[in-house]
Symmetry: C2
Subunit: 298 residues, 2 copies
């Protein structure tokens, strides 16, 4: 499925492409932004890719405008992919009734409960459909180094997405980072609401499928002997209202990794920072550098 280019915008020496494509995974058109850095071309060195997963309510545009990732990525020669946060426009019951469930709140999982299970399949979309479409695309594919050179990051719900997709798919991403991630969704109100809706909220689901989509549970199963240490950087602001409300729970992730003897997770608590893009942008350079290091650019 080819991309349709809705806009091409010069940014920090490179180009931001606002794209749409028809996804067989979600059964809907999907919006996605692609940033190609300056000085790259198929004839020169193609660019590794950093996938950025956005938080609740966001479209591909929020971080493209406010995240500041392009600044450092362009200097280093890193491409960035900004997917949307859910399918849209399906008119499922209550799809747009909440800001933290349904449209704009896909949680980067494949739903199993109806009516969501047909289209809300963001895990498969992000890990398979979108990258295979992109890397095989006649226009954009040649600019990219390909599936062996991909890292992932995200903010809030997207931080949950980045951490869980990294932990569930060893080897798929060369590194992971997260800004203020929902690090233990099975134990916080946002995650409980989303998982109850997308998976069901019975005891069986809570002990089964919920734990397979929760970074704090998944990290316990990370096998160093197979996979090496984690390549994981997390930043959380100490002034973040959602951190204070117990929606993020990064300490649970830290304790789980420590308890399981899993190394390579760095969690930094940034004094006074909030949950917004002001926070995210302030540490964008660090997260781009983290990905670039594991993608061979630094």
């Amino acid at each position: 499925m080819a991309f349709t280019t809705k806009a091409t915008i010069a940014s920090f020496g490179g180009k931001l492409y606002k794209l749409t494509h028809d996804s067989p995974t979600t059964g809907t058109p999907m919006a996605v932004n692609l940033y190609l850095p300056q000085c790259f071309s198929p004839q020169k060195k193609p660019a590794p890719l950093l996938i950025y997963l956005s938080g609740l309510t966001c479209t591909p545009d929020n971080c493209s405008e406010k995240g500041f990732l392009q600044h450092r990525a362009s200097a280093l020669g890193l491409a960035i992919l900004y997917p949307d946060t859910s399918p849209r426009g399906l008119n499922l019951p209550n799809e747009t009734a909440s800001w933290d469930f349904g449209a704009g709140a896909g949680f980067y999982l494949d739903a199993t409960a109806p009516p969501w299970n047909k289209n809300y399949r963001m895990a498969s979309y992000i890990t398979q459909d979108l990258p295979s479409t992109l890397f095989s695309d006649a226009e954009f594919g040649p600019y990219l180094a390909g599936p062996d050179k991909v890292a992932i990051t995200g903010h809030s719900m997207g931080g949950h997405g980045a951490l869980t997709l990294y932990l569930k798919n060893p080897g798929l991403y060369q590194s992971v980072s997260a800004f203020a991630p929902i690090a233990n969704p099975g134990k916080c109100p946002w995650g409980e609401k989303a998982f109850s809706g997308y998976f069901g909220g019975g005891e069986g689901e809570r002990e089964g499928v919920w734990k397979r989509h929760d970074a704090t549970e998944l990290v316990k199963g990370w096998k160093k002997e197979d996979r090496g240490d984690l390549k994981a950087l997390v930043d959380v602001g100490t002034g973040d209202q959602f951190y204070k409300q117990g929606q993020l729970l990064p300490e649970n992730l830290e304790r789980a990794a420590e308890g399981a003897g899993v190394e390579g997770l760095t969690v930094r608590y940034q004094e006074g920072y909030d949950h917004s893009y002001y926070f995210m942008a302030s540490f964008s350079d660090d997260h781009v550098n983290h990905a670039a290091k594991h993608l061979g650019l630094l």
Copy 2:
């Protein structure tokens, strides 16, 4: 008149303060954002100030979120002031009927035509009221180097504001820069509409007060022997729709300066860039460096 702090936000190692104060110049409450860089304190070295004037429709928040001036300013130790673009909430006839006149479109001049002349006095507000309030403020004043260490910049209508306030007030600002400025407002639709409304559109006004608020006319009167060369940097995107429509006219400014033998104006045409914050943010580092150089930080 003291400031009321509506929010304090950590950003790039410093703090962004969302403020309001009662302005005797506009007769209204005025919103303004102040950014103080990291590592500065009254006991250490106080920070020079860069004033950023926003474009049509903007509030102090747009550039604070999307402009990325804070990134480089914080590293260099430069404070930034983001004023609003007009008084608001006066309920004057047609005050909010247009996006390019009235609220959000004050054009950084003191209106002479009723009903605007009482409150739409943004030139006096920006050059006198706001800085004197800020530098004498008990909380924020001590962090700032004061009135001898101020530079000015702006985008679109704010680029017009920065250029004209610099040219009309020699010595007040140590340098000026502009992103996609309305460089010859007397000759473009945006400027003709604004000047007709704020000053009147008769032949006398066009030959008089209009020319005293038009960078292309003002630059002809710049006296090198009194004031030295201009310290002026301008960037314009060649893909800017408003540039292509003849709203910006930077070539007129260049020709006027050249014709008058005025030196120190650098105008750069940036290939493919548009009029948006994507453009502005891409060259923020350059404009911060330009101000920092003339403020003694580089």
